[in-house]
Amino acid sequence: MAGDEGRSERGLSRREFGAGLAGLGVAALMARPATGQTPARGGRLRVAMAGSSPNDTLDPHKAVTALDASRCQQLYSRLVYLEPTLKPGGELAESFEPNRSGDEWVFKLRRGITFHDGRPLTVKDVIYSFERLRAKETASPAKVLFDQIAADGLRADGDHTLRVKLTASNADFAALLTGYHACVVPDGTTDFGKGIGTGPFKLKTFRPGVGSVFERNPSYWRSGRPYVDEVEIFGIADAVARTNALMAGEVHLVEKLDPAAVARVKATPSLRVLAARSGFHGTFHMQTDQPPFDNPDVRLALKHLIDRERFVEIVFKGYAQVGNDHPVPPNDPYYCRELPLRAYDPDRAKALLKKAGHENLTLELHASTILPGMMEGALVFKEHAAKAGVTINIVRQPSDGYWSNVWLKKPFAVGGWTMRPVPDIILSQAYVSTAKWNETHWKRPAFDKLVDDARATTDQAERYRLYCQAQRMIHEDGGVIVPAFSDVLDAGLARVQGFQLHPVGTLGHWRYEGLWLSA
């Protein structure tokens, strides 16, 4: 069991959606035990996450950090769950489907589900949760996604059927509901101190900034699960301390393994590296309305100045996929396979810069250590770019305040994005002309149309074609350099069984209901 087993596959089959047939196979989806053993019950699973903060909250609609998300995953459930293959599967909803034009969806809830305090789950709870998610007062980070629901678009049809009308067609609406915010809470909840939800675990104790303990929910609707008696989640901010805790066997799972420690973990039989291909990526983004980045030749030149294979090796120790200067990762079904990979070509870059009148360009790149690999990536970029006579001076910015003061404000900076379940989300959030977080200030109406059309149609082949065109546009003309998609890199004790790798989030998307501890 040693070694880095279990990278999820590349090039998955085209995603089917809409008919929600996944609802039928729900039990099979989760913990098909990897070894075919029967799960043992009992024990307390200890999970060490990378950092904790006084901001820790039990309110799922306000969750921001991975730690918040992991807590919410134990206490609450969603209508729809994202499978490792990036298909939405039914969780609280046993089926879901859109109408032909894709602007109205019907969700049928499972019957017999109760909250931790015994109240039965009905459609009213779902409506309350969704309305809360888009209420201004909640200030939820997911509000933009839920604003797609029409003003009076949530209607109950009996106790167990929900009809949702959208402001515009969206073939990916179900996928939006897999986000870690979209949790269902009891109708009328304002105080989340008790963490009442429909999730596999109930809240036992919660100390913000320190840790939390959860105990098994005996009336969980997936009977038989969860297997462990308790889950304890706490934060160890220092990467070295986290690794030490794992090596000493004091915790079962750790998030964000330090790549420098990977070889050691692989060589230890009682430990396992848990690496999953993912769409998490760092960006070197240039504001396309600022000189010299307003010149497409300059942008293209800079895109040729990273040796991507070496980048993956040095920064991520091989735990990453090479990127092609757009935000869709190779393990996404909509990844444009026909687009050739960008090569490291300092000569071509030099020629382009000369043509643009910017030989021996000197630039300032703003970076910080706020995301793993960001600083190292900037350093490697600097070394590689020097071969074409381009001098990149790295301006080191403090981590706190990076998102509010540096990102989106400096003309050339490093950013990072977690994996979104569907390309529509990242393209809408960062690349369309009206995007809230348009790092590159890139505005192309033709591109906007591609994204809108792809969102509205339910024809798979057509969507692939449109997204491919969109990726090509960003690849050639956009202001972003995406050298790599880093893997989700976690680690755990070998005695943790039933672990399923997942491309989104960390630690198997924090689903611990299917885990058990062998002797």
Binding site: P54, K143, P208, V210, A245, S404
Partner: protein, 315 residues
């Protein structure tokens, strides 16, 4: 003497007030605020404004400070801006942890250091004295996180004798707690004991030069009696002083050790709160730090006064 103490006490309170003003002022200068840090990358202007309004951050600074001061005077520390839970709860937890570590370290390090200092003073320039001097010199010259890291690698990961991480899990027994504290205590002792032992040695030696000690010597008093009975009580002033300062350091300056061992103490709370721009928590913790410094300094002064009869009864 009572007058002197009262004066010091009042001055201490004034100091605390000034510190709180300075801290509040400083936090207002920090870029970003709790709303932007809370929302992180996914922040929208609208969401930030909503949160600011809910937390009352849109009111003027002097008003907020005044309110805070009023609350503190009545013994209420308020709510943490980040988690909206009472700070008193949060502090009680962390302060308890920090004090546990501080007391455990003090109980181990102080007798050890003072004892070593006395032994060195008894046989100055002897082999033991020089050995201890050299070893302690090396220990204080190496960064404390390095000592901590080496201890963890050797004793926790390789030998498995002690836990690598001292995060005090739920429901830990006293025995588990003790084991978890061993390595942090050793790390802190390494850093502090050199100062305390050197001071003890120097203080005792300087007292030993006094004429009345020579008298005792001439009357044939054994070395041990000389040191423990004649010299030590008079050297207590400076020794108490340095011990108090080190205790102050234990409460306020051990962030590095807390980080290495993931120990949930006040230091980490301070760092995390500044990062999260949780102004109310920062102020509360700063107040505790300052109170600890001031209080321990006061204790050190009192010890010095009590130990020195001349100061006790000023002419």
């Amino acid at each position: 003497m009572l007058g002197l103490l009262a004066q010091r006490f009042l001055f201490g309170v004034a100091t605390l007030w000034v510190v709180s003003v300075l801290v509040f002022g400083a936090t207002q200068l920090l870029p970003g605020d709790v709303a932007s840090e809370m929302l992180g990358q996914e922040a929208t202007e609208e969401a930030k404004q909503t949160i600011r309004r809910q937390l009352g951050l849109d009111r003027p600074a002097w008003l907020r400070y005044g309110e805070w001061l009023g609350d503190v005077a009545r013994g209420r520390l308020g709510l943490s801006l980040a988690s909206r839970r009472p700070i008193a709860e949060l502090l009680a937890d962390r302060l308890g942890n920090t004090l546990t570590l501080a007391v455990a370290t003090a109980l181990f390090a102080v007798p050890l250091s003072v004892g070593l200092g006395l032994v060195c003073a008894a046989y100055p320039n002897g082999r033991l004295d020089r050995l201890i001097s050299h070893v302690s010199l090396v220990l204080i010259s190496v960064p404390d996180f390095f000592i901590g890291a080496v201890l963890v690698v050797v004793f926790a990961v390789s030998l498995g004798l002690f836990p690598a991480v001292a995060s005090l899990p739920e429901g830990a027994t006293a025995g588990q707690l003790a084991r978890a504290l061993v390595l942090p205590v050793l790390t802190l002792t390494a850093a502090m004991s050199a100062h305390m032992s050197r001071m003890t040695r120097a203080a005792v030696l300087s007292v030993l030069r006094a004429p009345y000690v020579e008298m005792a010597l001439l009357t044939g008093a054994p070395r041990r009696r000389l040191i423990l009975v004649h010299a030590l009580p008079n050297a207590l002033g400076p020794i108490a002083n340095v011990v108090a300062l080190n205790l102050g350091y234990l409460v306020t300056g051990v962030v590095v050790v807390e980080t290495v061992f993931a120990f949930p103490g006040l230091g980490r709370l301070m760092v995390d709160s500044v990062t999260a721009r949780d102004v109310t928590t920062v102020q509360a913790v700063a107040l505790i730090f300052a109170a600890a410094y001031v209080g321990l300094n006061l204790a050190a002064d009192v010890a010095a006064i009590l130990a020195n009869p001349r100061l006790r009864f000023p002419a």
